[in-house]
Amino acid sequence: MNAALARPEQGSMARMPGGKGPIPEPGRSRGVVFLHEPSHALPLVDLQITLRVGACDDPLGQEGLMRLMGRCIRLGTAGMRAKQVEETIAGLGARLSFEIGAHFLRFHGTVIRRNFERFVALLAQLLREPAFRSADLALLKRETLADLQSSLDHDQALASYHFRRTLFQDHPYGRAVEGNARSLKRIQPKDLREAYERHLCKRKLLVAAAGAIDEDELLQVIERHFGDLPLGQAASAKVLAPKAPRGRHLLIVDKPKRSQCQLYIGSLGAKADDPDLFPFLVANTAFGGTFTSRLMQEVRVKRGWSYGAYSRLAYDRQRDAWSMWTFPAAKDVAACAALQLDLLEATLDKGLKRDEVLFARQFLVKSHCFDIDTAAKRLEGRVDVELLGLSAEHYSDYEAKIGSVSAAKANEAFRKRLRADDMLIVAVGTAKEIGKAMADLPGLTSQRVVAYDRE
């Protein structure tokens, strides 16, 4: 809906994938791992074709390669140009998107049931017979460069990019999945072809379907379209643990004429297989994960300083980011940043109260029904578990694991990873208006200003 949402969605709180009760282990057909979530409530099928390879597998100096490979697949086969591909997808009443993460790339389609067979045949043809034309690659590069430049218009995206880039430095999690002007220039059609031949194999493939499709039908799809793929190698790039920053560092991304600031404050968060991930999740929810949490109450409800105020815990195979996100007026940004740092420090020093932790725990357990109320959402959770290499219990025992988190464990998980003195502060705003006040933030180890349109 294009109307005003009075309050931001709660999507900024990363949630663990989880189910209710035992779930079937992933199936295997002709060596291909598959997941299936049937539902005949609507004549819709949701299909995900995922490869366990992502932006972290980009060779150094060729950042953006895996994304270009995936996007080039959509541009057609030797006998079918991009325009015809798009005409066919739309004509079938289908949508197809391509997504890339640090460790995966995924084609995600949704189609009206009556056209499922034709849609899956098209998708398989694209995946099995990509043309990788030079002209297509050149077009994608031009498009990517234009998109990168256009993204400078979006302050939140800009702040998020600089936060990750500065937090992770040279670690692969700090790379832009799109690459950059230099790296794109180095990518040739043969590189796409080589990457494709190396990675499109049974050991890296995950086929997942939800909705109005029976398992037999899914098995036939796998048999018909992917049964003869090479087995290949399971291993993808080894990613080392990132290093948490020491000290309190301020980066101002200077953009003229800003009436407010996009403000990110944070550090490293958690790894998906951390034994105390669930306590950390509960602690984060109590601190800044809901509308009644500490951060929202202090920043928005009491002071009106920002329309949104959330903390987010991301996790991956290695430690991902933990961050607070607010967007105060330029006149309030320094006070807001100081307040957030004080809140964090007080939380770490004195701990979250028992009733706060119990409330967060209860919220997570009881709201879990909305994570699994459609077949597509249930599938999404199972795919995440599979890609992160977690056990099925991680999914099926979600409620029990959250429900058993004590206040002591939640506080311990928070303290183990976060220190108010070791925080990265990134603000997109107009430096001449906010720079002086921000420079007065207590305990800064370093401060830097960069122009928003210079890398």
Binding site: M1, N2, A3, A4, L5, A6, R7, Q10, A41, L42, P43, L44, A82, K83, E86, E87, I89, A90, G91, L92, R95, T110, V111, I112, N115, L139, E143, A146, Q149, S150, D153, D155, K255, P256, S259, Q260, F291, Q297, V301, R303, G304, W305, S306, Y307, G308, F327, P328, A329, F359, Q362, F363, K366, S367, H368, C369, F370, I372, D373, T374, A376
Partner: protein, 471 residues
């Protein structure tokens, strides 16, 4: 908000619902209509004696309930100098009531794992809660409580004004697209309240008093100006009983009649150039469009899909993929009670010109005015609309929103099930006809957003003349 497509036929029934029988006897509740939504679901409409409209859609496919309350009041009910009041008031509805301390509303909902939010636009204000199925009674009590017993105080009002000012900075002042969209409506409308933004002008947001808010509440927040929608896993008889108990005693009020506005005839294209801190030129066009639900609505929705719906759509193919002029093309028709705008948005690639994009847009619009669209292309558009409709129907919240929207804007929730039938009736002649009638240059408002250059003349007034009715 463009509502299009459908899966199911609406079949009205004049017979009373068996489930409502005890309440019908007590005369506190009147059964009004019943219709299908898709192949499996039945929606019933009831009216309480105090005028509250109630829609129920039992659906046990997931153990959740979505509860929506729609009020027939939005930014069109405001006056100059008081713009943004409906939206600010929506924020205030989450505060204290006679029987709930400040913050308790949110705490009670989150305490049961629920989520609550709201939205305001030109013609309506919508509140919703999504909760586990077992918690329906709590939501009924909370919503009835704040419909009648909201307590308004100065301190939270001042804080909320600051929150809304920050929301405006976020959505409009630091967002090129939001600012251009706001400017378009101020350019296109001279009399109608659609000319001001739902979020309101900044100076108006800052000036609201407690008395403004109290008067607004007393005027528009009454059961006879509201529609309650329940969708999800609930026992209908029990829900009706709880709703009658919670809302039955609320008093109806005299709601001001909906004002009508005679927008002066537009005689030539209106144009505004904005210079902003942006990487690329943008083009925003607004053609006069019919009101939501008019007979031209469905053909225009199909036409929009043909022009802008997805990568294969004509303007997308041409501007983004073939000519590489644009990075983004979008189209939408304002789903308003009164005639709004058919909007076309083109974000050019850095270094490309909005004027050049306009030349090609004009060419494509002439093409749909002069040449018939093939049946295959119409089928493609309708298939995409059908997919969109089915996706809207996936969750209880999606279904409740569709029902509430149609009931509020058209006075008939059953039409939420019908749009696909309307789209399927659209043929090439109709498309050509609506293209000729609506895509007229002298009925167009146009905004070019240009990147600031140091030597560029500042062509824009301090506050843009145009403003868009959306926040």
């Amino acid at each position: 908000m463009a509502r299009h497509s459908n899966a199911g036929r609406a079949s009205r029934s004049s017979s009373s619902s068996r489930l409502a029988a005890p309440f019908l006897k007590s005369q506190s509740l009147r059964f009004d209509a019943e219709f299908s939504l898709g192949a499996r679901l039945r929606c019933r409409r009831y009216r309480l004696r105090n005028g509250l409209t109630l829609l129920t859609l039992p659906d046990a496919s997931a153990p959740v309930v979505s509860y929506h309350t729609w009020f027939r009041v939005g930014s069109r009910h405001e006056t100059p100098g008081k713009t943004g009041l409906a939206h600010l008031f929506e924020h205030l509805m989450f505060n204290e009531t006679s029987n709930l301390r400040a913050g308790e509303f949110d705490r009670l909902i989150e305490g049961v794992g629920g989520e609550s939010n709201a939205a305001t636009w030109t013609d309506w204000t919508q509140y919703y809660e999504n909760v586990p199925a077992s918690e329906l009674d709590l939501i009924i009590r909370l919503e009835a409580e704040r419909m009648a017993n909201l307590v308004l105080r100065k301190e939270p009002l001042e804080s909320e004004k600051e929150v809304v000012a920050n929301e405006r900075r976020y959505r409009v002042e630091d967002d090129v697209e939001g600012e251009a969209a706001e400017a378009l409506y101020a350019l296109a409308f001279r009399k109608h309240p659609y000319r001001w933004p739902t979020i309101g002008w900044m100076r108006d947001i800052r000036s609201f008093t407690l008395e403004d808010c109290r008067r607004f509440y007393r005027t528009y927040y009454a059961p006879n100006n509201a529609i309650v929608v329940l969708a999800g896993d609930f026992d209908e008889a029990q829900a009706l009983e709880a709703i009658v108990a919670a809302y039955g005693k609320l008093k109806a009020r005299a709601i001001p009649e909906l004002a009508t506005y005679h927008e002066p005839q537009q005689r030539r294209e209106r144009y505004l150039e904005m210079r902003r801190e942006t990487q690329s030129e943008k083009l925003l066009l607004g053609y006069r469009a019919p009101s939501f639900g008019s007979e031209d609505w469905a053909p225009l929705v199909v036409l929009n899909e043909i022009l802008c719906g997805g990568r294969s759509a004509r303007l997308n193919q041409l501007l983004v993929h073939e000519l590489e002029l644009a990075s983004e093309v979008d189209g939408s028709i304002a789903p308003f009670h009164d005639p709004g705008l058919f909007e076309l948005w083109v974000a050019t690639r850095p270094g490309k010109r909005a004027r050049e994009a306009l030349r090609y847009v004009d060419r494509e619009l002439r093409r749909v005015q002069t040449q018939k669209v093939s049946s295959a292309e119409i089928d493609k558009a309708v298939n995409r609309l059908e997919l969109g409709f089915l996706q809207d129907m996936e969750t209880a919240a999606g279904k409740a929103e569709q029902l509430g929207f149609y009931e509020t804007v058209l006075g008939d929730a059953a039409r939420a099930a019908e749009p696909l039938d309307d789209y399927r009736k659209v043929d090439a002649d109709t498309l050509r006809d609506v293209a000729r009638r609506y895509f007229q240059r002298d009925q167009r408002s146009r905004i070019d957003v240009l990147p600031k250059a140091p030597s560029a003349r500042r062509a824009t007034p301090k506050r843009p003349r145009g403003e868009k009715a959306r926040s």
